[in-house]
Amino acid sequence: MGSRNSLLLCVLVFAVVSALFTGHPEAAWPLAQIDDYLLNILIMAGINVILAVSLNIVSGHTGQFSLGHAGFMAVGAYGSAAVTQIGGKPILNALSFLGGAAPICMFVLSLLVGGLLAALAGFAVGLPSLRLKGDYLAIVTLGFGEIIRVVIQNTEAVGGARGLTGIPAFTTLGWTWGLAAFCIYCVSALIRSTYGRGFLAVRDDEIAAEAMGVNTTKYKVTAFVVGSFFAGLAGALYAHLIGYITPEGFSFLKSVDVVVMVILGGMGSTLGVTVAAILLTALNELLRQAEQYRMVAFALLLIVLMIARPQGLLGGIDRWLQARRNRS
């Protein structure tokens, strides 16, 4: 089976599973009758998958260590909330010719606005800062993430430090996992194209990549923009799940959470990072009783992993799969 087909199959499976879980308590299908708590965790897992897979394209595939992912998520969350919450009524009126589909159309619009605004922020951050490498880039992206947060905190129009409340709850399991599948598909497709080879060449050896005619700036900025776009989508989904966003929710610690998922799953392995995002979301919930020991458990997990499997949980699995494809 060709890789294109297997990916499309993945998307289909996701879509069907998600449709079964759309969360109507009176749905006929028994699987659909799960409680809200579990449903929220499943949606959070999907959002985290989008975050981790999109950071992976920047840090894992292109090798640009970024600590500002939560900043782009914030741009997406606030951008989309601005559409549905602040601009809600007039936009709904404008879309009223669509009848019953108007709210959903508004949600799609808000997702697009959130994603595109975040992509724009990614471009603005990426272009100047990608001249830096390694630790320096990490510090600059960390700074940008914090700047975004502080700017939001001081913007009264979006609620300032109090946050933004009353965002309509549009996010469902179907939307989340559908977009997660879309994100995984886009990243996987991009990796197996001229773009992916550019990304990997930049990661492996920037000087050699330049010498082989690979325009390293173009590929680095592309990775940043794509990564930010999906981070923005994740932020938009998050805002319309929780219904209430504050600048504090998108602090540096959130960025670190995503970095941990990427490292745990294996830098550059889309499959590994997806699994890690789901596992860590679940672990987070399982350890909720032991709230104060949670970070200790995370730290121990990371230390053990770095000793036992420095390439990450499933690092290298993509290459192994590809090698198997080539043999057959």
Partner: protein, 258 residues
């Protein structure tokens, strides 16, 4: 002979240090030129200036009668200059085949939506580029290793792969930075054959930086000698071997007792 690369009074200064000092130099179309000199003479710096890693402080570099100094390294490569590195710089996490395919990027159409949609045109291009890369590997006897990680290749084969990768950019001038470094005598003989073969088959001009005199004298048509950033001699291998200044640069001058 029409010259493909011309350097005119090129100066490279790093602060107070003059690494390359007013060097005039040219490479003819299809020619095989050697660049030698003692350690620290500025050979690699000159390489880096030609390939756009550094910009010349003064002077001009013309490739194919067009000024190329100041362009980025990738733009210079797209004009037709490719290089290998003194210390091997392969894309270490990629397979042998993907190393070559990555260097084809320059000549491929890369549409963002095309990559996502993966239509017929996209797949046809991907297939064609793999085919072409495999053929290139086949010519250099690396086809059987195509799907191996490039790190698993023997040292000599990694050098060879670097040359294959450079050829994938379809250069008209190929710069080889100490290709014989760390090779044993058998590998060196093999390397000389390889360079000659590359020229016969693909026809690029070759500029070779090398310490190994056997290799340089064995294959170069013309040799330029650098010392302390200056060009002190230029000529055929025979002429260079007789040149007093070159002998002095390498062996020191004779002391005449008073």
């Amino acid at each position: 002979m029409k010259s493909i690369l011309e350097l005119e009074k090129v100066v490279v200064r790093f602060g107070g240090l003059v690494a390359v000092s007013a060097v005039d130099f040219h490479v003819g179309e299809g020619e095989l030129v050697g660049l030698i000199g003692p350690n620290g003479a500025g050979k690699t710096t000159l390489f880096n200036v030609i390939t756009g890693v550094y910009k010349p402080t003064e002077g001009a570099i013309r490739f194919d009668a067009q000024t190329v100094d100041g362009l980025s390294a990738s733009e210079i490569t797209s004009r037709g200059i490719a290089r290998t590195f003194q210390n091997i710089r392969l894309f270490s996490s990629l397979s042998v085949l993907d190393n070559v395919v990555a260097a084809f990027n320059l000549h491929l159409k890369s549409g963002f939506l095309g990559a996502l949609w993966r239509g017929t045109q996209f797949r046809e291009q991907e297939r064609a580029v793999r085919e072409e890369a495999l053929q290139l590997l086949d010519v250099f006897g690396l086809k059987s290793a195509a799907h191996q990680p490039c790190r698993s290749l023997a040292y000599g084969d990694q050098r060879r792969l670097e040359i294959v990768r450079a050829l994938a950019t379809k250069p008209r001038l190929l710069l080889l930075d100490e290709p014989a470094a760390g090779m044993n005598p058998t590998e060196k003989v093999e390397l000389m054959r390889l360079i000659r073969f590359t020229q016969e088959r693909f026809g690029p001009a070759v500029l070779l930086v090398e310490h190994d005199m056997k290799v340089v004298m064995g294959i170069c048509q013309r040799i330029a000698v650098l010392e302390y950033g200056r060009k002190i001699a230029e000529g055929t291998p025979g002429e260079i071997q007789q040149d007093r200044r070159v002998i002095a640069a390498y062996l020191g001058e004779e002391v005449v007792d008073a």
